[in-house]
């Protein structure tokens, strides 16, 4: 079992890979992460983080057959490993624990 820690962007991207399942590759991960965070990440930032996650053992990748829309290049698809799933659960536990007892302010009154 890996004891590597997860940074904020690493966790966001790991969650995106888990959410996208079979369709997790650079472009779809970037769209998902950018759409949810409202930040426009470059594809280089996404792949650098994915490579880091792969080095930590949280995701694995495989290349698909080349496609004409990509100029004859392969797609690199990612999948969350068992260690990645454990890291997600651990991050969720930590987040719940950290947020426990914190009030985010009064709820807005209905108009």
């Amino acid at each position: 079992m890996t004891n590597a820690t997860l940074g904020a962007l690493e966790l966001t991207i790991l969650l995106a890979v888990a959410r996208l399942g079979e369709d997790a590759y650079g472009l779809s991960v970037r769209r998902d992460v950018s759409g949810r965070t409202g930040r426009d990440y470059s594809v280089g930032a996404i792949y650098t983080t994915l490579e880091r996650l792969e080095a930590k053992g949280f995701v694995i990748s495989r290349t698909t057959d080349p496609t004409p829309t990509r100029g004859g290049r392969s797609r690199r698809q990612f999948k969350v490993t068992a260690a990645g799933q454990r890291a997600i659960r651990q991050a969720e536990r930590v987040a719940r624990s950290v947020w426990d007892g914190v009030s985010t302010g009064p709820k807005p009154e209905p108009a």
Binding site: Y25, G26, L27, R30, S42, V43, G44, A45, Y47, T48, E51, T63, T67, T69, R70, G71, R73, S74, R75, R76
Partner: protein, 209 residues
């Protein structure tokens, strides 16, 4: 919305793949950019997609260069140094030959025009031509990492120029005293090196050997 899909600018693609990153890493990124380009060209039109593509390439270039630095810098460094040294010597030698051949004419002209803007402008153009030739040769000789070679040559000549100016020892003519000329000259040289190198890279795919 236009239905024309077009294709990404091939010259920019070649520059990206010539940045020296691991081929799998750069192919994946260039492939993703190409795929999104096709979608954006359908939605927003080819011109907007090309603009987006060029902007993304600028954003992605540092990551590709960082990949080169992590993976291949020790392997490619001797080739880059050789390319910069050989190109610099070739351009310096050629410049000496041309300068010697044209010296009487240039000196006669210089006596007439002195340090006029026309004279200094022509010297700046000469520096730019030097840079273009140097950049082209660096990218051609250092085929394994042509963009890195071009950047290294730019860095080396900029450092050299600034160093010589700070030391105040390089005064091949009286015009070196003019501040705007001294500021513009290294700028022209470095722009020339970058343009020459990128022009070479954009025309040819890098060697994988």
């Amino acid at each position: 919305m236009t239905l024309s899909s077009g294709s990404p600018p091939r010259a920019v693609e070649r520059v990206l793949t010539a940045l020296g990153a691991d081929s799998e890493f750069s192919d994946t990124i260039v492939g993703d950019l190409a795929e999104e380009f096709v979608l954006r060209a359908r939605w927003d039109g080819v011109t907007a997609a090309r603009r987006w593509y060029c902007r993304e390439c600028v954003r992605v270039a540092p990551y590709l260069l960082r990949d080169w630095w992590r993976g291949r810098r020790l392997l490619d460094a001797p080739h880059v140094i050789k390319a910069v040294a050989v190109s610099s010597l070739l351009v310096y030698g050629l410049e000496k030959m041309v300068a010697r051949a044209l010296a009487p004419a240039v000196l006669a002209w210089w006596r007439v025009v002195g340090q006029s803007p026309a004279y200094l402008g022509s010297m700046l153009c000469w520096t730019m031509l030097d840079g273009l030739l140097l950049g082209y040769l660096v990218a051609r000789i250092g085929r394994r990492a042509p963009v890195v070679g071009t950047l290294a040559a730019t860095g080396w000549w900029l450092t050299f120029w600034v160093g010589m100016n700070l030391l105040g020892g390089w005064r091949f003519d009286g015009s070196m005293g003019q501040l705007w000329y001294r500021a513009l000259n290294p700028l022209m040289l470095c722009s020339g090196i970058m343009l020459g190198g990128l022009w070479r890279v954009a025309r040819r795919a890098p060697s994988s050997s």
